[in-house]
Each structure stands twice: as structure tokens, then as C-alpha cells.
Amino acid sequence: MPHCSPEQLALAALHEELPADDAAHLAACAQCREEVASLQRAVDALAVPSMAAPGPAVPPPARVWDAIAAATGATTAPRPEFVPAEAVPAEAVPAEDSGADVVPFRRRARPARRWLTVAAALLVGGVVGAGAVAVVRGQDEGALVAQTALAPLDDDGSAGRAEVREQATGRVLAVDLDAPELDDGYYEVWLLQSDAQRMVQVGVVQRGATVLPLPDGIDLGAYPLVDVSVEPLDGVPTHSGVSVARGELET
């Protein structure tokens, strides 16, 4: 077969799937592969998650507008009710804790799609299970220390229940989560301060029941909010900013 057309090679550089003939030729032809590689440098530099079209919105804290107003001299401020502030726990994590600067240097074949997948799962995914049930079952469930219902934060319907129990080995956070299945990404549970300015990562939660150990010495009075987030599989250890369910622990 003759060489692939220049247009097909450009599509290959964008990681599009080629027709079988072209794909077979490309696999066997060093010259065509070299052409793809040379076109791909720009793709690899730009088609990365940090450059992708906006995904989930994260309201900036009020100080961002203050700085803009100071720099531009603007006296007409946005109405706070239209820019919900301090809403998302993502505001709270100190940047120095962020591993985010490793992300763009990974080569992903289809970098943006995972955001679509998560969003689509949130929007259309079915909700499994029904009703809150006792989270911890079995003999060593331990004494109930605190509990809360996890209320949905959006129309995806994720909800559930969380309990803190004192077991022989220490306190645990037991989560029962009714949430859509995610094609890509996973759910994670956090304990937040009530102003959502600080948080502690507790661990990965599955749909259904998950029991996780709590850090020794954590003051539940200081971290009363149980927050479940959707995390992309991007290696970034901080909160994604996408919370799907939350509740306040009551003792």
C-alpha cells in the first residue's frame, strides 16, 4: 500500500484512530511514523489536561475579585450571590501540597476525555442502591461516635451516610455511598473544617460500604464535615474541587 495521506498522518498525530489500511501501513512504515512523531510534538505540548476546555467550575475566593478591583480600579463589584464564594473545598488545600505540577508532562492519548467521562457519569449515570442503612455490619462494629447523612450536592443524586465508630483498633469512618458508577475516576472521602478552609484526606470510597481508619487524634469538632469527591485518575493528590455529597457529623 502507498504511504498514508498527509491528512491521515495529521489525524494520527492527534491520536485519532485511522482506517484499518492506514493503521496497518503506519505500523509497518518508519517514514510515516517519523512524520507522525514530528507533527505530534505540538499535540503533546498543548493537548494536555491543564490546557483543556473548562470542566467543573470552581468559584474563586472573594480575594481574587478584590485584587482585580485593585488593579483595574473597578468599583462595580460582582454580586456575591452570583459568584458563590467559599463553596468548594478545593479552595482550602494549600498549593504547596499540590502535586499538580506533574500532570502536564504526562503524555496522554486523549487528555480531556476523562473530564467528559466524569461529567457524563455524573449527569446521566444511574444511582445504585437505595436508602440509608447501617454502614458497619458484623461483630466489631464499635460504638457509634458520630454520624451524618450525606446529602447530594448536585443533580447526580449521589448520597449516603457516614458514621464514625470507635473500634478496638481506633476510630473508623464508615461510609455507605449511593452514587453513579464512574467510567474513569473514583470517589474519595474527606473531613473538612466547617469553613471548608482545611481538610484531611481519609481515603478512597467505593459505591456501597467502605470502612476507613481515621487519623489518630483528629478532632471531629474541628473537622465536622464529611465530603465525598470525584477524583480523576490523574495522580494529583489534592481535592479535585468536585464534591458530590456532604454531611455534618453529629455526635
Binding site: 491528512e7 476546555a53 470542566g55 467528559l116 450536592l153 448536585d154 474541587g241 455529597a245
Partner: protein, 218 residues
Amino acid sequence: MSAGAGLGLRSVAPYGSGMGTEPTPLHRAPSDPDDAEVARRFSAGDEQALAWAYERWAGQVHGMAVRAFGPGPDAEDVTQQTFIAAWTGRAGYAAGQGPLPGWLVGICRHKIADTWARRDRQRRSADAAADDARSRPPGSGSVEVDSVVADRVLLLGELNRLGQPQRSIIELAFFDDLTHAQISARTGIPLGTVKSHIRRTLERLRNRLEADGAALQP
């Protein structure tokens, strides 16, 4: 406090929302002007339009910044610099630039790339100092990373120089992760035309990298 009430409000933005998709009603009062009017008044220097633009699109811009850097000062700085640059550079926003939110997202991309480059320079200075201290060969290990960061700034500048529809087409491919068939369906531009624009744009970007890019330097 009842669970979740008043906290954690968020919206999952529609896919491709940087390209001028309507914002959720949360960001607008019924009497407020539509996006096109906000854009017109923004470019005319009406200060009220800056506040409206912030209400409608700061969440998306900040969402991008947080995705790039995690929450914190760098992300906040990117969001802040994006709106300041948009306002001070509003004369450069003309009707041909497309919807205002898409223009803001483009500025945000530049600010993110600039911040990466700045972080990278700082890290290299720190590495160089550490290398000196340890008497090791300088720069070992981070050459590839450095060059990608520098290339990104260069390439975004080149994208700014593309005309339409070439620019929209390649942005949909790069940033919205659409296939050429999806781009054709979205834009109404024939498949063959989309493919030839993609080819020519990738060649142009390759030429730019070969002329000025760091990645191809030996």
C-alpha cells in the same frame, strides 16, 4: 447546619463550555443582558460588564486554573491575571474573536502556560544551586520537562496568529478533544476541509517549533 445546605454548590459545566456555551442561570438575574451584550459592553469599557463577566465566567476560568495548579495562590493568581489582562486588553477583543468566554479561556491558557514556565525557571535555578552545591553536572534530568513548558508558551502564541476557522478547528481538537468528524459536525465545516486545516495547522506549529522551539534542540 443541615447537611450540604449552602455548601459545595458546583456545576458540572457542559463539555466545551469554553466555546460560548450559555452559563447556568445561577450566574444571571432575569434583567441582566445576554452574553453578547455583556461582551459588547466589556469591549466598550463599561465597568459593569467586567463584573457581569466575572459573575458568569470566573468559575470556569478558576476551575481551569485549579485543575492546572491545584487550589491555592498560583490558581488564584492565574484567575486574577486573566481578568486583569482581559480588561486592560479589551481593545484587542473584537467581534471576530468569538464569544467572550472563549476569549477569556484563551487568556487563561496563556496565564497557565506562563505560570508553568515561571515555576520551571524557579525550579531550574534551585536545581542549579543544588547542582553547584553537590558538584554535579547541571540540569540533569529536567531537560525534557523544561522544553515542553517553553514550547507550550511558544505554540499558544502561534495559535493566536491563526485565522478562522483554522484556529477554532485546532482548538476543538486540542482542547475539547474532538475528533475531526465531531469537529465537522459541530462546526458544519465539511470533513475534507477540517482535515486539510488540521494538517496545515500542525505543519505550521511544527515549523514554528523547528525554528524556535526548545524541544528540537539537541
